[in-house]
Amino acid sequence: MNGGLSAVLVILGAAFMLVAAIGVVRMPDLLTRMHASTKAGALGGGLLLLAVAVHFGELGITSRAVAGVAFTILTAPVAAHMIGRAAYLTGVPLWEGTIVDELRERYSARPRTPNPATPQE
């Protein structure tokens, strides 16, 4: 029973990691790639740590696994936010299908540095 549950958790976590990797390959943009990798990757890692907790079934290991899950859930959005903010402020080009760019007026005092690789309109 223990082994079966932990096996199911491992397969679920690996599936979420696979979804995250496919998202990183398929998405067109830095921000959408970050969106795909952060949430699915954090969920997959959390499921793998829960599988470890179920597999061993001891109090110390379970508490360490729960601490790891909490740390992942706390830090993954912060890291993604900082990467996205740095990317936007340094002028990484957005996807051409982007509809809304709400930060453009807010950062109008500091013009975005144009990327010489992409043609400007």
Partner: protein, 42 residues
């Protein structure tokens, strides 16, 4: 990944390795973002 190693080898020490790797990856990500965003480490 280190959690998978911990299950595969029945060795719970790898769980600590997983937590430490997560911590160091987060710190490295924050430092890299600060460096790219501001051009200097504050």
């Amino acid at each position: 990944m280190m959690a998978a190693y911990a299950i595969m080898t029945h060795q719970p020490v790898f769980l600590d390795v997983a937590i430490l790797l997560a911590l160091i990856a987060f710190l490295g990500t924050v430092a890299f973002a600060l460096y790219v965003g501001k051009g200097r480490i504050p």
